[in-house]
């Protein structure tokens, strides 16, 4: 009896060396998320890389075609000209971050109805993308909400074909995107700002700093990393803008983004191989852009 106990106590977890314990726990805990990550993130990406070297149409047998798909993309300017549309979303990104930072700063000081405003600003991010698309379709249509409001405040002469005018359509759509994602940036900024200790503000007030000084010399330096993180998220988001233009216009009237084009190539024209190659190209562009940004923002950290 006592022998059995001895064996059991020897096998027990606490008798293994600390290092081995640590490894076992790390592996056991990581196994679940890694399995999920591998199944739903890595595996599809690996598959996509494989498809990009084939001429698969979704149904027939695949044939390996080497780099043909990539040659098609890089030798045909049509595939790249749509990145022009991404520029609209790219510039909108800065507007979006600017507004988010502005509201986050204001609401981090003492303001009446603080929580109410926080809720209002964050609310759009909680809405479903399809709902937003339909909502703004009504908002922008001729004699829709926007036009009605403009008429009501005496600016009726400024009404436009918000989506019908090819020069305006991307600005309108980028505006919707700003409205939707601003709340997300805002909440992250707000969190970062609230982690700045109060004493620093008090000390600066004694030194005679006003709100603007506090923003420039205390808040901005403290949340620099968060700003760059938000910027990376927003820029890669602008390159892969999809949901809002796809739901609202389906890419019509010159509003097609690279992702819309990829989806159409793969699923409308049955060129899964070529579509995968386009997705791989986009992946690399996003990786490169992110890399460049990190290079610029990482000094000093």
């Amino acid at each position: 009896m006592s022998k059995l106990k001895e064996i059991i106590s020897k096998m027990s977890f606490s008798n293994i060396s600390y290092k081995a314990q640590r490894n076992i726990i790390i592996i056991a805990f990581l196994a679940v998320p890694m399995t999920l990550l591998a199944t739903f993130a890595f595996l599809p990406v690996i598959n996509m890389f494989w498809y990009s070297f084939t001429d698969w149409n979704g149904y027939s047998k695949m044939n390996f075609v080497g780099l043909d798909n990539y040659k098609t993309i890089f030798s045909n300017p049509e595939y790249f000209s749509v990145f022009r549309v991404s520029l609209y979303y790219f510039f909108a990104t800065f507007v979006q971050l600017g507004i988010a930072l502005y509201f986050a700063t204001i609401l981090s000081f003492e303001v009446k109805f603080k929580n109410f405003f926080k809720g209002v600003l964050f609310f759009p991010y909680l809405l479903n993308g399809v709902a937003i698309g339909l909502m703004f379709l009504l908002f922008f249509r001729a004699d829709g909400t926007l036009d009605t409001v403009l008429h009501a405040i005496g600016l009726g002469d400024y009404t436009q074909m918000w989506l019908g005018n090819p020069k305006l359509i991307n600005i309108s759509l980028a505006g919707v995107s700003v409205w939707r994602y601003m709340g997300f940036n805002f909440i992250i900024f707000l969190g970062a700002i609230s982690s700045i200790p109060n004493e620093i503000y008090e000390a600066s007030e004694i030194d005679g700093a006003n709100r603007w000084h506090q923003f420039i010399y205390i808040i901005l330096p403290s949340i620099k990393i968060i700003v760059s993180l938000n910027l990376i998220l927003a820029v890669s988001g602008s390159l892969s803008a999809f949901e809002i233009p796809f739901i609202m216009t389906g890419g019509a009237n010159g509003s097609a983004t690279f992702v819309i084009q990829t989806v159409n190539t793969a699923f409308r024209y049955g060129k899964i191989g070529l579509g995968s190659a386009m997705a791989v190209v986009l992946l690399f562009i996003v990786v490169v852009v992110t890399g460049i940004q990190r290079k610029f923002f990482s000094e000093g950290d």
């Binding site: 592996i27 591998a38 979704g58 249509r141 019908g164 359509i169 699923f267």
Partner: protein, 455 residues
């Protein structure tokens, strides 16, 4: 040490995952090949014959039927279920309605789990159809009894029967035409434009509603192409002789010239970007829209969208030909999965749906594919008035599927929507292109694909 272990563990893990996947693929192809061999060597009656010998009581199982009719799946389809189950009491029918059938079915096809009864997706290349679907009989036999089965037949075997046969024309509101002072139905493109101008000048109605934002209604125009061509051989045969089929004088050029002209002359809706299909049906019924180019399937839907069913009628697409020719085109082709466990029940459903349900006339505004079902009244009248309803001649055997291949390769998309939207954009001045520029871009893309495919 810990780091190294982790890396080792992760890479092992990934390898196992990959290997598992690879294994799956191999198995799938193996069993597929094995299955087809079995079919070839078996002496038994094929399933499409065998089920007819069974007693209705013997046929049993849970049957999953895919449909694209999200609008009536809870109403009309439930009646179908009742009627069918009364005849075959041991079958339990379950419907699954897909909002975007063409897009949703594609990823599912390769999983082998796509219902027992569904439609042949038009995206499946013809030669691949036998890999996924159950044969329904030989073309020679089926042709005797059904319209339109030759369209997606493979090597003399039929894999799908059209759920309805429809035709395309211009749906118009009689009351609006009357108010505008259009007394005789326009026959040529010039007369049609004149009539639309009168509608614009004399009424508040929109002369022609494109439904540009929903985009798929623009693809409906293609269905009337053979009316413009005035020939049943052009679409599948003659077009393949011409590497540049969109030049002035060619049927496609003349056909889409009308789309460009109406848009350019401001005879369409004001803001095409915010159109709405469901609303357009109601507007047309109420006399706020004069015309729309659509298939006959839409007639019933527009008539039932308001109180003025009698005002809505369909006429031939304006053309300069001597004959008024409506080409009959198959709607979706109903098919049976090769991987189904309930094939007898599936065949029973297909047979009942095509011959007895009345779907094709009542719900799809067309003609039944079954030759035993008589022509609807309205068609019989039009036929008496000189219109011809014809099936298009299929492509010759050796060129089968080539048209689709060129179309996809070139991304012109004869039945697609992108290029038609571009055409409308050019016409309303949103793009710096004339009609000839648009046609030339189609020609160039088509020619490149033509040379690649036909070489």
């Amino acid at each position: 040490m810990g780091k190294k272990l982790m890396v080792l563990f992760m890479s092992l893990f990934l390898l196992v995952m990959l290997a598992a996947c690879g294994g799956d693929n191999d198995n799938a192809t193996d069993s597929g090949d094995g299955g087809s061999d079995d079919n070839g060597s078996s002496e038994e009656k094929p399933m499409h014959e065998a089920w007819k010998d069974m007693d209705p009581e013997e046929i049993e199982g849970d049957l999953t039927v895919l449909t694209h009719r999200t609008d009536i799946v809870d109403s009309v389809y439930q009646e179908y279920k009742e009627q069918f189950e009364a005849k075959y009491p041991n079958v339990n029918v379950v419907f699954e309605a897909l909002n975007d059938y063409g897009g949703d079915i594609m990823p599912r096809i390769n999983t082998q789990d796509f219902g027992d009864v569904q439609y042949l997706p038009v995206e499946v290349p013809i030669q691949d159809i036998p890999n996924f679907f159950e044969p329904m009989g030989s073309l020679a036999d089926m042709e005797q009894n059904f319209l339109g089965v030759e369209e997606r037949a493979v090597n003399g075997t039929v894999y799908g029967i059209p759920i309805a046969v429809t035709y395309t024309g211009v749906i118009y509101n009689k009351a609006v035409f009357e108010e505008a002072g259009v007394t005789e139905l326009p026959e040529t493109q010039a007369e049609f434009l004149e009539a639309l101008q009168m509608v614009k000048d004399n009424t508040d109605a929109i002369p022609l509603y494109t439904n540009y934002a929903d985009a798929w209604p623009l693809t409906q125009w293609q269905g009337a192409l053979s009316t413009t061509a005035g020939s049943e051989t052009y679409y599948n045969i003659d077009i393949l002789d011409d590497p540049r089929p969109f030049e002035a004088g060619d049927p496609h050029y003349e056909h889409y010239k009308l789309m460009y002209d109406v848009a350019e002359q401001g005879l369409i809706e004001n803001d095409p970007l915010t159109t709405d299909w469901e609303a357009s049906k109601v507007m047309m019924n109420n006399g706020e829209i004069a015309t729309m180019v659509l298939g006959s399937w839409a007639l019933e839907q527009i008539q039932s969208s308001g109180p003025n069913a009698d005002d809505i009628a369909i006429m031939a697409y304006p053309n300069d030909q001597d004959r008024t020719l409506f080409s009959l085109g198959a709607d979706y082709n109903v098919s049976i999965s090769k991987f189904s466990d309930n094939k007898p029940a599936a065949f029973a459903w297909v047979d009942w749906f095509i011959n007895e349900s009345g779907y094709s006339v009542e719900q799809a505004g067309g003609i039944s594919a079954s030759k035993e079902v008589p022509l609807p009244e309205a068609l019989a009248e039009a036929e008496a008035a000189g219109a011809e309803f014809v099936m298009l001649e299929p492509s010759p055997e050796e060129l089968q599927g080539k048209l689709d291949e060129i179309d996809n390769e070139s991304e012109v998309g004869l039945w697609g929507q992108d290029k038609k939207q571009v055409l409308v954009e050019a016409a309303i001045g949103n793009r710096d292109m004339t009609f000839d520029d648009v046609m030339n871009s189609w020609n160039d893309a088509w020619e490149a694909a033509y040379n690649k495919i036909m070489e």
